[in-house]
Structures are given as C-alpha cells and as structure tokens.
Symmetry: C2
Subunit: 236 residues, 2 copies
C-alpha cells in the first residue's frame, strides 16, 4: 500500500502516493487516512513533511481533517475553498470573449444532456426560476434566478464531471459575468427577450429535444455575447 520514500521534495511524494492510491481505487471517498504517526512509520519521512502534504490536500478540498478523529478523503467536493482553475485563469488575464467561449462550450453540452435526463420535478424548479426572472421586483433576485436556472440545467445533465467543471470555473465566470448579467437582466427592454429565451430553453427540455435545447441555449448565449462586446467597447 504505502511505500517508503527516498526523495528530496518529500511532501510531493506523499501527495503522489495518495493520488496513485486514489486512481487505483485503494482510497475512496470518505475513507480515513492512516494517522500521522503511521504515515511517518510507513513512509520513513518527517512528521513535518506529512503535515505539509495533508494540509495542502485539505486546502485543495480533497482531504478533510476532523478534530480528534483524523484525516479523511472528503465525501463531497462542492463548495471547496479553493478553485485552482479559477485562480489560474484570473492570473492569465483572459479576455471576456475567451471566458464566454468556455461558457458556450459547457452550457450547450449541459443543455443537450439535460434534455435526455430531465425529470418533471426538475422542470418545475426551472419554471419557478423563470417566474422569478419575470416577476420579481428585486434586481438581485432576478440575477440569482438567472444564475440558478443555468446551474440547475448543469445539474440535470446528469454528468458529474461537466457539472463540476462548470462549478470549478464559476467564480471566474461570476467575476466577469455578474456585471453583464445585472445589466442585461435588469434593462427593461431586454428583460422580456431574456425571459423568452429562457422559456425556449425550458420548452426544448420539456420536449426532451437535445438539438432544440442546444439551439435555444446557443441563441441565448449569442445574445449575451452581443451585450458583452458592447460593454467591452464601453469600458475599455
């Protein structure tokens, strides 16, 4: 299972071994890791290096440290503190257009998959978001309803990986898109168009029509893109 380590960057080796055990299925979600003392014995390295590695895995959101109980592979990865992809993308200074392209890539696929997997209960939830988008008097509420609508579709895709890729870039999306969303969602003349676009997406999902869902999502995102370009021109 664990092998003694001979290397200079020892904490890296701890992580590589844990990663390998995960990829081989030896370590699974919720599993308890050996105690720090056991790891010291098994790997033949200092307690400091073990702690560094465990702390890093905790920060990434892979390992959970429970007071008095020990270290565990986390059961769920939602709301992890750190989204490495988002931060790296922020450093990259990507253009609004590039970020928008990522959104198109992910959300046309979630729409396509959701059309195959959506339940009547999901449809009710999506309908409620559209109602809020149409009728709420609070602009923040409307923006949140819009956002929830899109995340719900990703959830309905039934693909954990794709849903997670969307979430792992969501703080990036939010940072760039939230302003655009506020502007577009709340311009009176745009609101009706937006509600219609969301209804079209929902109707395609109700019909379990993947192709129509992709088309409706693409049209909606094309409309947003036109606004982003407009805003970019204004603000740059």
């Amino acid at each position: 299972m664990f092998r003694p380590i001979k290397n200079t960057k020892v904490y890296e080796q701890v992580i590589i071994q844990i990663k390998n055990m995960i990829s081989k299925g030896i370590l699974k979600k919720g599993d308890k890791l050996p105690s720090e003392r056991e790891l010291v014995d098994k790997l033949g390295i200092s307690r400091t290096s073990i702690r560094e590695a465990l702390r890093a895995l905790e920060i990434i959101g892979l390992v959970e440290s429970r007071q008095g109980e020990g270290n565990f592979i986390r059961d769920n990865f939602e709301n992890s503190l750190f989204e490495p992809l988002s931060v790296m993308f922020m450093l990259q200074k990507s253009s609004t257009l590039e970020i928008h392209q990522v959104r198109v890539m992910i959300e046309t696929e979630t729409a396509s998959l959701a059309a195959k997997n959506i339940t009547d209960k999901d449809i009710e939830v999506l309908q409620e978001y559209i109602d809020k988008l149409e009728n709420s008097n609070d602009e923040v509420d409307r923006s949140i309803a819009d956002k929830n609508f899109h995340y719900k579709i990703a959830e309905c895709s039934g693909n954990f990986l794709i849903n997670n890729i969307l979430r792992s870039v969501s703080s990036l999306m939010d940072a760039f898109i939230v302003n655009a969303r506020m502007v577009i969602v709340n311009e009176a003349e745009q609101r009706e168009e937006l509600v219609i676009q969301h209804r079209n997406i929902l109707q395609a999902l109700v019909n379990r029509d993947s192709e129509a869902a992709v088309t409706a999502m693409r049209e909606h995102l094309e409309c947003i893109k036109r606004h982003l370009i407009l805003m970019d021109n204004i603000y740059s």
Copy 2:
C-alpha cells in the same frame, strides 16, 4: 493591500487574501510575494501558518519557491504536479461514458475554434502526426501521435482556458482512454478508418470551416464511443 487576520483557520485566510489580490489584479504572474517575515508582520499570524499556506499554494502549482530568492506567483501553469479535477473525478468513479461526454464537449469546441485560428505551420504539424499515425510501425508511437494530434488542435483553439481545462482533466482521460486508444489505434482494420477520420478533421481545419470541423470531430469521437461501449461490455 494585506490586512491583519482574525480567524481560527488562519492559513485559509492567507490563501483567501492572496486569491483576492490575484482576482483584483494586484498580484500578477511572475510577481514576488512579500517575504515570510513581512507576511508575519502584515497579517499578524504565525510563521507556521504562513508557511502552510505558501506550501499548499506551491503544491497546487500556483506559487513557486526559488531557493534564496523567495516566493513567486508562477509564470506558467503547465505540468503542474497536481491536477485537482482529475483526482476528484477519479474519486467520483465516473463512468467511461461520462468521461467520454467531457471529451466530446471539449474537443468539438476546440475543433470549432481551431478552424478560425489555425496557421499553415500548425497544419504542417498536424499533417506530420497523421503521417506517423498512418506509417509508424511502433504501436506506442502511433498512440502518441493520435494524442498529440488532439492536443495540438486544443492549442490551436487559441483559447487558453479551454486548452487548460482539457489538460487539467488529461490524466483522467489518459487513465480511462489510453487502453481504448491502444486497442483502436492498433487494430489493423480500424487503423485505416481512424486515419481517414483524422484526415477529415484536418481537411476541415485547412478549409477554415468550423462547422465541418465540429462534424468531423464528432464523427471521430462517435466511432471511439462505439469501441468504448464494446470494451465496457467485454470487461464488465
């Protein structure tokens, strides 16, 4: 810039502050971070907590520690030790089909974007990979040529984010797909079909025809999907 920290999980706060400074553009790629001593003074927390945070960021691949020089925001994020998404996805025990859907999502988009951005030099490189796929007598060489062909197209997309998402799930893809690739690429009767599919993709890119590139990529991935399903049935 930095603010003193009042919290129990202090290392988390260090990371949140660094993340915020990145998102605001105060910290940029290649920038030197304040020294450990300065961070201790500015944040009012222990050197141990500072080190834990920095070490975690180093492990994630965001910070680079240079002997005798200090800590820097990394200049490039390729070949980072740790791919959090891949590891989390491995833990999720995703199905082959789910992973294949991620691949379809990413690679139809990279094909579409590459058609708009590809240069004549890129086309030459892609042609060389196809020649190797067709003519090499070594099955490992052929598999590598196949893989390189797909990564090169992602690079040609001109979208750093999408290229990076593909790379951040690549060890997951490789773990699941490498066997399939070996089987498909090296079955004599399949090889010719595969070469034709790759030629079709390249031809669409040469014509700068996004729609045709998406169609050709989709046909190629559909063919791979049929083999994956076949293999799944055999091995499960």
